[in-house]
């Protein structure tokens, strides 16, 4: 039953990819096809890492309406971009190539998450919510700092930052993409080993310790995997706040199971399908007049409000 449902998702995803690749091709195949293939690749990398990391994050926090973005990774990313433009103005891209920017901003986000763990775990604080709270507060601080700098910056230069503030799958760089893919494959490989522990972590800290799971160590490693995935996807296309909540909750509804090996796979697939459909709408219905993250955040936001209203009952 579960396997059949996952089979349906795989078929749906293949149809989406085919639609995306071959709809309205035109005549210049040798130009269009490789361009589209790169976009397909980007979407798969980004969407599956967002789906995967959201499920892990919600399991660790035992909360189904959180996403890793609460930890403030995205505001670190925006702040980093803002500072770059603030310092170098319109010469930003002469100073720093795309791949350099990608690596540095990924690094900045990883350093940020390591910094938060050090505060928490060195003080023997074992409460995961304290971790989230610190992330949330620092995230807000960085956001405010970014806004402050953005106000000072020349409006023309601000448009460079604006490009980074909304996720876009439209122009990707192949070099970057293979780097990101490499990082993700490593994270998936490490994550694979921990999948069995996730089923137990979903029961909460006390049950996990009772069942012999080294809880603190496990949470640290998993948060590190999450931060790599979020950093990579944010640095590639920019922040997509609500995608994680949207796809993880669709997954829980679609697959009523507690087994993470199925949940993680299904969520990655659903995440890809949602982004493909969104991007397809952008390209062929809205003619690129809006960004995919705006549509996803809109739908995700509405769904989020629905979830909150539902959980209050």
């Amino acid at each position: 039953m579960i396997k059949r449902k996952i089979g349906i998702l795989v078929i749906a995803l293949l149809i989406c990819i085919a639609l995306f690749m071959f709809y309205g091709l035109g005549s210049n195949l040798s130009y269009i096809l490789p361009k589209r293939a790169i976009r397909v690749w980007t979407i798969i990398v980004v969407a599956s890492s967002i789906g995967y990391s959201s499920i892990i994050f919600q399991t660790i926090t035992q909360n189904k309406i959180l996403t890793p973005s609460i930890m403030g990774y995205e505001s670190v990313f925006i702040l980093f971009q803002t500072i770059l433009v603030f310092l170098y103005g319109d010469k930003t891209f002469q100073v720093l190539q795309h791949s350099g920017n990608f690596l540095l901003s990924t690094l900045a986000m990883l350093v940020f998450s390591l910094f938060i763990y050090l505060i928490i775990f060195k003080n023997h604080q074992q409460n995961i919510y304290q971790l989230l709270l610190i992330g949330l507060i620092l995230g807000t601080l960085f956001q405010t700092l970014s806004s402050f700098l953005q106000i000072i910056i020349d409006p023309n230069e601000f448009s460079i930052i604006e490009n980074h503030m909304f996720a876009s799958f439209s122009n990707m760089n192949t070099g970057l993409l293979s780097l990101a893919t490499g990082l993700l494959i490593i994270s998936f490989a490490i994550g694979q080993y921990f999948i069995k522990y996730l089923d137990i972590l979903a029961l909460g800290r006390e049950h996990a310790i009772n069942l012999g799971v080294p809880y603190n160590k496990m949470v640290q490693v998993l948060l590190l995997i999450i931060s790599i995935m979020v950093s990579v996807s944010t640095a590639l296309v920019g922040p997509i706040l609500f995608l994680g909540i949207l796809v993880s909750n669709i997954t829980y509804q679609y697959l009523p199971t507690h087994k993470h090996k199925y949940l993680l796979l299904a969520c990655s697939l659903i995440s890809c399908i949602v982004v493909f459909l969104g991007q397809f709408l952008i390209e062929h219905i809205f003619n690129f007049s809006t960004a995919v993250s705006i549509i996803i955040n809109f739908i995700g936001g509405v769904y989020f409000i629905y979830l909150i209203l539902k959980s209050r009952k």
């Binding site: 089923d199 800290r205 049950h207 310790i209 009772n210 069942l211 012999g212 799971v213 507690h258």
Partner: protein, 254 residues
């Protein structure tokens, strides 16, 4: 077996446990009793490595607790805290199967399945085994968690106020199950209890805590006396003998 020495714990300036030492009787039920804030639950959490003590040491089979590998310890000692809210789609049987995680890491063997079946039978949950835990009543859910601990099959079982929010029937079922584990399988049970009559009827030994220390550690029959009960709980008790059992009545205070 399970022993602890000089355990201290402070939260800020507030002392929760003040250098307490004891050794628990193997193959018996020991009840931890005392007023709210006397440190019973904290002691139990320290014994079960859920929180760290500031000072002192806990040992199991004469080996300090912190030298065990987490997974090995989980085969020797289990802890059940009060059932908390869980937003996971799990059937009773799935939950009980988690008890086998220390042995099989999620891939259940034939022996694991047998242990799960046994645990379901001992906790008398056969008719609910395929229900989802969020559809159960509080009492049924508590018994499902107890069955998970039974499937874990550890020599030592620690329970923190397992009777909280349970009706009389479910309280009796839980205590009866624990008694069965001790009498038939020789398990060692340590349990935090609020209602003194459950302690006096089901426990073999009582550890009574007051002012962050252990005041008494006695066989149950020697502890149940008006003077000692008043000293621990701060209210007057009448001890009524009924069918060779002592019932502690405290309703004459008003």
């Amino acid at each position: 077996m399970l022993a602890f020495e000089n355990i201290s714990k402070k939260y800020g300036d507030r002392v929760i446990l003040d250098k307490i030492t004891a050794e628990l009787q193997p193959g018996r039920i020991t009840a931890l009793v005392g007023t709210n804030g006397s440190g019973k639950s904290t002691l139990l959490s320290i014994l079960s490595r859920l929180i760290e003590a500031d000072n002192g040491s806990v040992s199991l089979y004469e080996q300090p607790l912190d030298t065990y590998k987490p997974n090995e310890l989980a085969k020797k000692m289990s802890i059940m805290k009060q059932a908390n809210h869980m937003d996971v789609k799990l059937t009773v049987k799935d939950l009980i199967s988690f008890g086998r995680f220390p042995y099989s890491k999620g891939r259940l063997t034939k022996e694991d399945l047998k242990k799960v079946e046994e645990a379901i039978a001992i906790a008398e949950l056969t008719e609910y085994q395929d229900s989802y835990i969020d559809e159960l009543s509080g009492g049924q859910r508590q018994r499902a968690f107890l069955a998970m601990i039974i499937a874990q099959d550890t020599q030592t079982i620690l329970l923190d106020e397992p009777l909280n929010n349970l009706d009389i029937k479910h309280s009796m079922l839980v205590m009866g199950t624990l008694r069965k584990l001790v009498n038939k399988f020789g398990k060692t049970v340590v349990i935090v209890l609020h209602e003194i009559n459950f302690a006096s009827h089901f426990a073999d030994y009582i550890i009574a805590m007051k002012d962050q220390k252990i005041k008494y550690h006695l066989p149950t029959q020697e502890f149940i006396h008006q003077g000692k009960l008043k000293e621990i709980f701060g209210v007057n008790f009448d001890i009524i003998e009924h069918r060779n059992k002592k019932i502690c009545s405290y309703f004459n205070n008003f």
